[in-house]
């Protein structure tokens, strides 16, 4: 998966990989996802893929795919991610993307406050917007601050020559 590039690009990349084509994410629009009745969890959705007028292909096609769940995501980190804390989730998104490779946009999640726990960890609620193209559900992300400078600078003697 190409989570770092955001939901739309990841969906297009997945299609390209699956059917061995080379659709350009800039050449197609991914429409509003509609959950299918057969999957009450909200993971499986249908959305219309439409070519932009300038693209080398034309027309549109309704595709079915799964969104990823935040409830699962927050359990999959093998170690607490190191992210420079911010006050809100929206301010944290870029750091989350860089630190974990999970690219979320404001179209994917509701904003939420980042809460310091006092033990060096921070909590923030990831709650998917209903029309998110790539995510559904909610989960609490636990992370810690960036590593201390002492980890990087181990020789503290400066020599001025």
């Amino acid at each position: 998966m190409a989570l770092i590039q955001g939901s739309k690009v990841d969906v297009i990349s997945g299609i390209n990989r699956d059917v061995q084509v080379l659709l350009d994410p800039n050449g197609v629009l991914l429409g509003i996802p509609h959950p299918v009745e057969e999957d009450p969890s909200g993971a499986t959705v249908q959305a219309r893929l439409t070519c932009v007028p300038e693209y080398q292909y034309r027309g549109s096609q309704v595709i079915t795919y799964q969104r990823l769940g935040f409830a699962e995501l927050v359990t999959l980190f093998p170690a607490l991610p190191n992210i420079s804390p911010r006050e809100t989730l929206y301010e944290l998104l870029e750091g989350l993307r860089t630190a974990t490779g999970v690219g979320l946009s404001e179209d994917d999640v509701e904003d939420a406050p980042v809460e310091a726990q006092g033990d060096g960890t921070y909590h923030v609620l990831l709650k998917a917007k209903p029309l998110s193209q790539g995510w559904y559900g909610e989960g609490t992300l636990v992370f810690q601050d960036l590593p201390p400078l002492s980890l990087v600078i181990t020789d503290v003697t400066l020599e001025w020559n």
Binding site: M1, I4, V19, Q61, I63, A79, G134
Partner: protein, 286 residues
């Protein structure tokens, strides 16, 4: 041409009533079988050029038959002095189903495939006579292939995709290293990272061992996850036996790489029997 855009049975009803005002309703036609339309010469002041026999269907409230005169839509006049262009990405092998689909979409008509002879056409200009059995149309359709874009549905041979699914890369009980240390900048170790041969299989000895160990050490300091190049990848923490691939970013082969902050990445992918799942990413700038 919205007048002719109705489904063909409704268009036939309109055409019959055009020459015979108020004669029939839709339910009348729905309870009717049709004979074969025959050409007739309109009388003075008439427009009806077709004769059609209508028979009551069995088990309906109708009996007997009725002969009606009406006008069929003459495509020679409708498209007088013009050639219908069929926009198609690939020339040749044009079938009547495609012609009907294109003409209906482009000109809002209600042709059905049986209105055209069952044939295959190439990439020149054709004059195709509408089938004599067509209930609503007659005349000649003049069309030509014109190169166009390929339709999306011709490219995608499936519409259901299993493309965003943790199960595809995550195995219960195994850590997903794709989410660990992705943001670590290894640029200070770029000499080591770049000296590792692309495609090298990690081993506890030989060229590359010291370099990869340096990278793993840094990964461990930041994430707390200990990696060991000298231990088999089937044992916890072990990485030996896995292949190191190097990509310049952005790369279609490494879509998970952070191409905005780094221009190179080493990717170490797990195997089915590895202690972890996913891919370890080692980003740096060269």
């Amino acid at each position: 041409m919205s007048l002719y855009s109705k489904p063909q049975i409704e268009l036939l009803l309109d055409l019959i009533n055009e020459s015979n005002p108020g004669l029939m309703e839709l339910r009348d036609l729905q309870n009717t079988s049709y004979g074969v339309p025959k050409v007739r010469t309109p009388g003075p002041g008439e427009i009806a050029d077709t004769t059609l026999e209508l028979y009551a269907k069995p088990d309906t409230f109708y009996i007997g038959k009725q002969i009606v005169h009406y006008r069929r839509v003459d495509l020679s006049r409708l498209f007088a002095n013009m050639v219908v262009l069929l926009d198609r990405w690939q020339p040749g092998n044009i079938r009547r189903e495609y012609i009907v689909e294109q003409v209906n979409k482009k000109y809002n008509l209600s042709l059905i495939p049986d209105d055209l002879p069952d044939s295959v056409w190439g990439a020149t200009t054709y004059n195709v006579t509408i089938a004599a059995t067509s209930l609503a149309y007659r005349g000649i359709l003049r069309f030509q292939y014109a190169p166009g874009k390929r339709d999306l549905d011709q490219i995608l041979n499936k519409t259901v995709f299993n493309i965003r699914d943790w199960d595809a890369q995550y195995v219960e009980g195994k850590p997903l290293l794709s989410l660990a240390g992705v943001g670590i900048d290894y640029t200070r170790f770029k000499a080591s990272a770049d000296s590792i041969t692309n495609g090298w299989v990690i081993a506890g000895t030989g060229t590359g061992y010291a370099q990869i160990s340096q990278l793993f050490s840094w990964f461990g300091k930041v994430t707390g996850i200990t990696l060991d190049a000298g231990v088999s990848h089937t044992q916890v923490g072990g990485m030996a036996g896995l292949t190191v691939s190097r990509f310049n970013l952005p790369s279609a082969n490494a879509p998970e790489g952070n191409a905005e902050k780094f221009n190179r990445v080493l990717v170490i992918a797990s195997k089915p029997d590895s202690w972890f799942t996913g891919k370890l990413l080692i980003h740096y700038n060269w």
